[in-house]
Symmetry: C2
DNA sequence: GTAATATAGTTTCTTATGAAACCATTTGTC
DNA sequence: GACAAATGGTTTCATAAGAAACTATATTAC
């Protein structure tokens, strides 16, 4: 019932009819959002994120920022807040709050780094590992269902395209 | 210098090494975020959104919500807040605020619908059209630069994949 | 060694956002 | 036509997030 690329509500239908036949009909700047990559990508990502967030929140009472910290820890076993910032593109305040919340709940623990007193090394606690052991398969199953309509090739190509876009974004940002 | 699908900082490198050789080495749930679609999609969309937002904000002092309203109006010439909500997936409060801000700045105007007194029909003012005439080409140029590394086929496939994912999301949501 | 600068992380402040309450109008039911 | 439900939109309230100020440690220049 929602909007997809072709049946995007009015736009397809009224794009022509909508043209103002009125007085000063200057050549109107028109943007077809359904064909505008940033918009499409954003809306899709938002919807996916909403779904997952609901799942995390309902069943485990963690938010997206916390989830990301946990997921990276599942991967690295030892991390610092700074690294999480760069990996996830999240603000350091946001990471700081997520880390604190997770520590309060006993899902991770911090120890001051031996080399640098400013830094805290982050680790999962057993409770944290346990939570992940339950959450991760669920998340993966959900993802699998989401991409079920894509062929293996389409799936691979999608990741390739995202990789290219990320690299290009880097390039643009610097240039 | 940032994270891309293969050189994602620690994960690739320490995934193996990070394994805890310690005592109770239970089979650890591990999630490779760089291969997790929701995460990748979200991070990419966020970065793109950040870039564009900076552009809108710096040069035209409008935020994403306002931009979306304007863009849809460029397309439809006559809209209601409700429709914008469904097209953009934005909360109605957010849309309401965006519309109000745009009206205050004289970029759009509202008139009560003849058929339904609850509804306001939204239209661009000449000033709004003028702003779009300047902004839209810039946005399109930026998008063109972003996707410059994709072939025509890759670009088309990307949109196809997004379409499939959106439809699947619908299906999952309902089921 | 000491002063200046940079860095990791926290806290404070402000703003944006979503949820829910709310108001006005419209639609449906009897 | 009157009353109940639904709908479009706004406002209020609570919360999350980013910006900037701040603290503590580390690094660099001299």
């Amino acid at each position: 019932m929602e909007v997809d690329e072709r049946s995007s509500g009015e736009p397809g239908a009224s794009a022509g009819a909508g043209r103002d036949a009125g007085p000063g009909s200057l050549p109107r700047a028109e943007l077809d959002l359904s064909q505008f990559l940033p918009y499409r990508l954003n809306r899709l990502a938002d919807r996916i994120s909403d779904e997952l967030e609901r799942m995390y929140a309902e069943r485990y009472d963690i938010n997206v920022a916390q989830w990301r910290v946990l997921a990276w820890l599942s991967h690295c076993d030892e991390l610092t807040a700074k690294k999480i910032c760069t990996y996830t593109n999240m603000d350091k305040a946001r990471v700081s709050r997520a880390v604190q919340a997770l520590e309060d709940r006993g899902l991770i623990y911090r120890e001051p780094s031996v080399h640098d007193q400013r830094v805290h090394d982050l680790h999962l606690t057993p409770a944290g590992e346990e939570l992940l052991a339950s959450l991760v398969p669920e998340a993966q199953a959900w993802e699998a269902e989401l991409v079920a309509t894509l062929s293996v090739g389409e799936y691979r190509d999608l990741f390739n395209a995202m990789g290219k876009l990320e690299r290009q974004l880097e390039r643009i940002g610097q240039g």
